[in-house]
Symmetry: C2
Subunit: 597 residues, 2 copies
């Protein structure tokens, strides 16, 4: 079994010693589980990921999906891995029991997913999209639609997609032009071109279930005119059997920098290539109410964006541990002052190599804490007994979502780049995986809302909502950690003071930005705000880990304390100049003109 994908010890630390996963089993929603089940799931995931996802990681990059003009062919090992994943019932891992799911807490399911994202994110993506699709339908679709489309997805027989973007409407979804024409039988005929649709066609599953944003006739302009439709590749009879081919084809596939195992397509709906029921037009079913398509999509956006953060973390984790492994084995050079007659030492003996590894540890384990904390909020949102506590979890998750999406994406990139640097020339070759992880990673600040869109979401929406309720909740939790850290003493107290000073400044700066008066000025440095807030939050979660480590003895806890020290000494202070810039209400980018470039 490979051990260089995720630190199993760290997963147990976060799940049990920090987040107290056992407590979840005492909640009604998760009462069917025992804490030992969670450990068994992690072990099963490690095994499946190591044996069936990791081995074709390089092959899925070298032999990327092929489009022959009609069909898409994907590396068979991807399908085989997903069959194993389905056999272990992992498609249904987080789904509610009422729909046949295992109803495992998100905290635990996300921890387990680390193994798969680290082993082969391109393969996992098919499952992730299917789970997200099924989750949306279970929440918003009529029972009849759920019955027809969800069980095959939870069994991993059919895969799902999200068909949102169009060639002229990427980040600007209000501009989609795909049309949905009502039919006399209650269905709709869908016509239009989509873009950037992952898993939009392939030969891995019996059917493909597209969730498609489209506009009804006379829908208003902008996002309020958007409805959501289920459009299967093959029509489905009432008994669940597959019927004729729907009028869904693809215009082509995108050839990507990384994450190549996941085919990315440009689907075409209703161009008449097929004529289901004797006429052109892709047959679709309305999900929920007309005009609420984007709301439904955003309802699941928290989970989807958390998923990107988790993917980024898994990718960085694999690169980190592979570079650690290399640094322990590769002899090169000697410590300063040791003569050339002495044997060379493993490069981990060089301080700068340890710096690069320690930085990776601080990024990866900080990101993982953030991801699991947010997954825990997803659980809290649906399983806490107290309604106010559930609402609090939802509000807090809203504020943290742009951060959990963006921070692991940004620093996971830096982390993966350091992994390449540890390997040196070898890291620049395709003989090692780190360059592939680095290419895979680059997708994360782009999809599911770009980095800049996360920034606008945080500062322009989440921070303003309910008079800043989310930010105040977050500040309250950070303050609580600071108080506990001060009881630990030593470096934890020093770190608590450092965090407190920044927390107060973020509060002041936020008020200052809100007071600038115009949305343009307020959001002129939204990305800087997002990045400063992200580092603040991860510093907080490092302090949490340091508090849990306390004075416990052993290499693992020493490592936690050293990584916390690194984050507080080398990382948190980065936000000071960012906060200065925000405090000054800098307008340099706002005032830059096209002609001046």
């Amino acid at each position: 079994m490979t051990s260089n994908l995720v630190s199993a010890r760290n997963l147990r630390f976060l799940l049990h010693e920090w987040l107290d996963a056992a407590e979840l089993t005492r909640r009604e929603r998760y009462a069917d589980h025992a804490p030992e089940d969670f450990d068994a799931l992690l072990e099963l995931s490690e095994q499946l990921a190591s044996e069936h996802f990791a081995p074709h990681y390089r092959a899925s990059d070298e032999q990327e999906p092929q489009f022959d003009g009609t069909d898409v062919h994907v590396l068979p090992a991807i399908g085989e891995a997903l069959r194993r994943y389905a056999e272990a019932d992992l498609f249904a891992l987080g789904a509610p029991a009422e729909h046949g799911g295992l109803q495992v807490p998100s905290t635990v399911a996300t921890a387990a997913s680390m193994w798969f994202s680290a082993a082969n994110i391109g393969t996992l993506c098919y499952a992730f999209l299917t789970q997200a699709n099924a989750s949306l339908l279970m929440t918003h679709a009529a029972p009849k639609l759920v019955e027809r489309f969800v069980p095959p997805m939870l069994e991993g027989r059919w895969f799902g997609t999200m068909a949102l973007s169009e060639p002229q409407a990427g980040s600007s979804l209000g501009d989609v032009t795909t049309r949905a024409v009502p039919q006399s039988d209650g269905t709709y005929r869908i016509f239009g071109n989509k873009m950037w649709v992952s898993a939009g066609d392939h030969d891995l599953s019996d059917n493909i279930v597209h969730l498609v944003l489209a506009k009804l006739p006379d829908a208003p302009a902008g996002t309020k005119g958007i409805s959501l439709f289920v459009v299967p590749k093959f029509l489905v009879a009432d008994d669940g059997s597959l019927g004729e081919r729907n009028d869904v084809t693809i215009a082509g596939i995108n050839h990507k920098l990384g994450s190549r195992g996941t085919v990315n397509t440009a689907p075409v709906f209703g161009d008449g290539t097929f004529t289901p029921g004797g006429e052109p037009g892709a047959i679709g079913h309305l999900v929920g109410e007309p005009g609420r398509g984007l709301n439904y999509m955003f309802h699941m956006m928290n989970a989807a964006r958390l998923g990107v953060g988790a993917a980024a973390t898994g990718t960085a984790s694999a690169a980190y541990l592979k570079s650690l492994d290399y640094a322990r084995q590769r002899p090169q050079g000697r410590p300063l002052g040791v003569p050339a007659t002495e044997p060379q030492v493993p490069i981990i003996e060089h301080t700068d190599v340890r710096r690069m590894l320690l930085a990776q540890k601080a990024y990866v384990e900080g990101a993982l804490a953030l991801v699991l904390y947010c997954a825990r909020l997803l659980d809290d949102e649906v399983s806490l007994a107290d309604e106010a506590a559930r609402a609090e979890a939802a509000t807090l998750l809203g504020v943290l979502t742009p951060i959990v999406k963006s921070w692991p994406s940004q620093w996971g990139q830096e982390s993966t780049s350091l992994a390449i640097q540890v390997l040196g020339g070898a890291g620049y070759t395709r003989d090692y995986d780190v360059e592939q992880h680095w290419r895979d990673q680059r997708l994360n600040p782009i999809h599911e809302g770009t980095h800049g869109i996360q920034a606008l979401d945080l500062l322009g929406r989440k921070v303003l909502a309910d008079g800043g309720a989310g930010l105040m909740l977050l500040a309250g939790r950070i303050e609580a950690t600071i108080a506990r850290a001060r009881e630990v003493g030593g470096r934890a107290t020093v770190h608590a003071d450092a965090l407190k000073a920044r927390l107060d400044r973020v509060g002041e700066v936020t008020l200052g930005l809100v007071g600038l008066g115009t949305p343009e000025k307020m959001t002129a440095n939204a990305t800087t705000y997002l990045e400063a807030a992200g580092h603040l939050v991860v510093a907080w979660l490092w302090l949490e880990q340091e508090v849990v480590a306390g004075a416990q003895e052993g290499d693992f806890y020493d490592g936690k304390r050293q990584a916390a020290e690194f984050f507080f000494v080398s990382e948190l202070p980065r936000i000071d100049p960012m906060l200065d810039l925000l405090a000054a209400g800098d307008l340099t980018s706002l005032e830059m003109r096209d002609a001046w470039f």
Copy 2:
């Protein structure tokens, strides 16, 4: 002619308005040139790069060099481009007139090279290595060797390599084990395996001239035992005609993340595949004196490392201008508050997109100023009339070399990543070049001495040399710029004050580090020191540009002032927390232990 590779206007600004290239023509060494010649060279370079280097940029990535077990086959378009380059006499551009070179100042040759590095760095690399090889021979080899090997390289008929690293000796060159056995005829037989040798075999030139580090029998351990040899692929008769094949083969080629047009090989010397003169062993010729091989290599290291900085800058320049072009043409979304019924606007209208473009402008034009400033020091070193002034240039160049190598490599990567981000999903596809530039760029912090090695060179060697003479010289030049900026007034004065504060702190921090007593402690954060010094130096060069722009009117000068403002507001303050860490003598990475990871 493509215009999205380099800003011709900015090149003219830097060469004429800032560095006063015309003054160079008044020096004896460059008296044969007129300033108009320089402009003609820039125009010729733009044309050649656009017409012959840029068109196969994507093809040279997709159709990477192939090794058939005996020979290496490279995309023919690369050979064709280099023939055009040779026809324009550009292989001989910077070489001394006494050897048939054009003796163009490095400042101008480097400016011209921007077009080629931006168009296709993988193709340019063959020429760059050949020029470096010839330059070393002209400086250190006996006249007979120079006569035999240099003219064909300056004519672009033979290409050169640098065969330094070995499988067990990458950064640690003292550990090379390749052997050189003296022969009765004064030649040597070379035996050993090399690694990471760019252009180590190909079908682009009539011969390949390897410069090989090897050890004579009984050579001492470490770097002092290393000698340098010329080893041609085909033996060369006294009349310059090619003879039999030398015993040089390759074990294989490396498959890289980027920069794929440049074949990277693992050459084998003397394994008996060929038997020149009837016996195995690659026939080589000693360059200069025994035991001084690494000195000769390091003698040309300033130029080679400047070359990496120039390559990184050209790569970032192309990505920047391509993303600028995209941002001006791609409609998506609307300004805040504009209803969805209005047409979409080009994405350059969004502040965050302008921020990403402005950051790229600040990085690219800052890096280019640094590169050209260092190239000017190369010229000063050989062409100033006053000996003390020449020595001063050499000392200053020594301090700046690790910075000109590392800063464009590091921030060129960030810049190129921003180019991808501007394009969004499109930037993640191979339909656009920005992802290729990003992959190409990743090589630069690795080759010609890794980022960490530059840091040790700066702090452990250059700063300490001659009691800090280099750093004091640098500080003096920065102080002079600060004084001139204060006369300009307005923002330039504010920036001057900001720079002065950091300059003083760097001085204090440097003294503190030297006072730490042990090399381990002093260099524990050498990389942080390198990065802080780099940002300080580039801020200085932005202030230089701001002073030249002065109060001149027009979009170009407005852009210069705005980019300077960006650098001083968003970039320079980044170094404050770095300086704090250095001032504290942080030992977190030094004290991290293997077992704690």
